[in-house]
């Protein structure tokens, strides 16, 4: 008798990935809060459509039955909750979304404030049923690095600018959702506007970067004209172009590439 066997799988592929989720914080009394939510949803239909939503129950002291009831209420409004924050893990069984911890704030969403502070007249942007309404830009949380960035290190700020007072060594990497400012020499990689923010820029005092990228468009040092090297430069996107220019007004150099 032969038994067909599959060769053993030696490895599985896992990837870490960051997602931005909205966090909804209910208030007590629950009925009043739900009524306000209904009123607000009437003005902004479809606001939650397709958005991953986390429920923040910290400090509310909800029992399991409260959570189940609240989940049912939200579900009836077509609001899907993918996780719960700030609840006791022991009361969340398999029928409830999993407990999430370690979340970092990425700015509040202006639309939530609309419940109390906005006038009753519907805002045009809310009434518009476009798929991504009313996500105000998150307040910029800059990351300040006061030491040199060493080869092999990665500095990442998904929430805003990165400011580096020292140098960025060859083999180091700086990734920012906003702009990157390097007050020393930039010899490693700098990726500004890493999540597609095309208004981000890279500034550095001495430009020797292995790779420079803005909003996903990049150049390696070999592609970059020698007239820019070792100068103070900035890099930015405009229209269809990626530009790098010297900052020194006395020796102006500007090089432009077509984004392709």
């Amino acid at each position: 008798m032969t038994i067909a066997t599959r060769p053993p799988r030696h490895s599985f592929r896992f990837r870490g990935r960051n997602f931005l989720a909205l966090v909804l914080k209910p208030e007590t009394p629950r009925a009043a809060w739900l009524a306000d939510l209904d009123q607000w949803l009437a003005r902004s239909p479809g606001f939650f459509t397709g958005k991953p939503l986390i429920l923040d129950l910290a400090g509310l002291g909800f029992a399991r039955s409260d959570i189940v009831a609240l989940m049912a209420e939200l579900e009836s409004r077509a609001i899907r909750i993918i996780g719960i924050e700030g609840a006791d893990a022991s009361i969340l069984d398999k029928s409830l979304p999993p407990l999430l911890t370690g979340g970092r704030t990425a700015g509040s969403v202006e639309a939530i404030d609309a419940i109390s502070s906005r006038p009753a007249t519907p805002e045009p942007s809310y009434k518009d049923a476009s798929p991504a309404p009313a996500l105000a830009p998150a307040p910029v949380a800059s990351l300040m690095i006061e030491t040199p960035v060493r080869s092999g290190q990665t500095i990442m700020n998904p929430d805003g600018d990165v400011i580096i007072l020292g140098s960025v060594a060859s083999g180091a990497e700086v990734i920012s959702s906003g702009s990157i400012h390097v007050y020393g020499a930039l010899r490693g990689r700098a990726l500004a506007g890493a999540y597609g923010n095309e208004s981000a820029r890279v500034f550095c005092r001495r430009f020797e970067a292995e790779l420079i990228a803005v909003g996903g468009y990049y150049k390696v040092l070999e592609d970059i004209e020698p007239c820019l090297r070792q100068k103070s430069v900035q890099a930015w996107l405009s229209g269809n172009d990626l530009n790098i220019a010297t900052l020194d007004q006395n020796e102006k150099e500007l090089v432009t590439w077509r984004k392709s």
């Binding site: 060493r150 080869s151 092999g152 290190q153 020292g166 140098s167 060594a169 060859s170 083999g171």
Partner: protein, 271 residues
């Protein structure tokens, strides 16, 4: 209070073992009790450079695993009484180093010596991280060439994150030892200049060791250059570095090993 010093570089062949031995001898000659420890498990070399290869019985792994007492594994130098060697094991590999064992071993060495000098293996893997783990200060050995400088930069990053001192939130002291420095080639621009290296690594300079036949000869004789030819340019540079480690202020000289006669004539003045 003993100082635990790690001699590290990232890149291989830049002179970690040579520098460990030379600094160990220089410190011992100044009256300090010194132990040099070879962390290059599986590729041990420090015993050869120290001329003790025929006397190795027990090694670092035996002590770390608790097979023998530290005293049984220490090899006392025949020429300098207050200098000892703890050899690496040639038959094992770096995975044999347990963190707990290393911690205990370094702790015992601290009680016996003024200086514990750990010779790190090349690379950034377990051997290198274990060698730096319990160190108080680090000497980063760098050649004036781009690959060595970049690897040193990587190691400095690890010293600032993977050592006990860094994990306790304290500042790890790091010094640059520029080795195999050739003034003629530097003058021609074939090598990175001292200023370039210092600018990139931005850590204080401990010394500049000239490229020299003397160093190679000393290593092959099993007698560190600070012992075999104390008047030579590299030996003087290592001695100055050792004095700086002890907190003395010694003016930095750029020794020129290319002119042995001149070095001999002006030796006293330069030192």
């Amino acid at each position: 209070m003993a100082e635990v010093l790690v001699v590290t570089s990232g890149k291989g062949g830049v002179g970690k073992t040579t520098s460990t031995a030379a600094l160990g001898v220089a410190l011992a000659q100044s009256g300090q009790k010194v132990c040099v420890v070879d962390f290059d498990v599986g590729l041990r070399n420090l015993d050869l450079v120290m001329g003790a290869e025929r006397r190795v019985v027990y090694d670092l792994i035996n002590v770390a695993n608790g097979d023998v007492r530290l005293q049984q594994a220490l090899i006392r130098d025949k020429r300098i009484e207050n200098l000892s060697l703890l050899a690496a094991s040639q038959t094992r590999d770096k995975d044999a180093l347990s963190e707990e064992g290393v911690r205990r071993c370094i702790g015992e060495l601290r009680e016996k010596f003024d200086w514990v000098i750990c010779d790190s293996p090349a690379g950034i893997e377990r051997g290198a991280t274990m060698a730096m783990r319990y160190a108080d200060l680090a000497v980063v050995v760098t050649n004036p060439e781009v690959s060595s400088v970049r690897d040193s930069d990587r190691i400095i990053g690890l010293l600032d994150s993977k050592t006990m001192k860094a994990e306790r939130g304290e500042r790890m002291e790091k010094f640059l030892l520029l080795t195999r420095y050739d003034t003629v080639r530097a003058g021609r621009g074939d090598m990175l200049s001292i200023d370039d290296v210092l600018e990139i690594l931005s850590i204080p300079l401990l010394g500049i060791i000239p490229e020299s036949e003397e160093v190679l000869r000393a290593s092959n004789l099993g007698s560190p250059v600070t012992m075999s030819n104390a008047k030579s340019a590299p030996a003087r540079a290592y001695n100055d570095a050792a004095r700086r480690l002890r907190g003395e202020t010694v003016p930095m000289t750029i020794p020129n090993a290319r002119h042995p006669l001149l070095t001999k004539l002006f030796g006293r003045r330069a030192a």
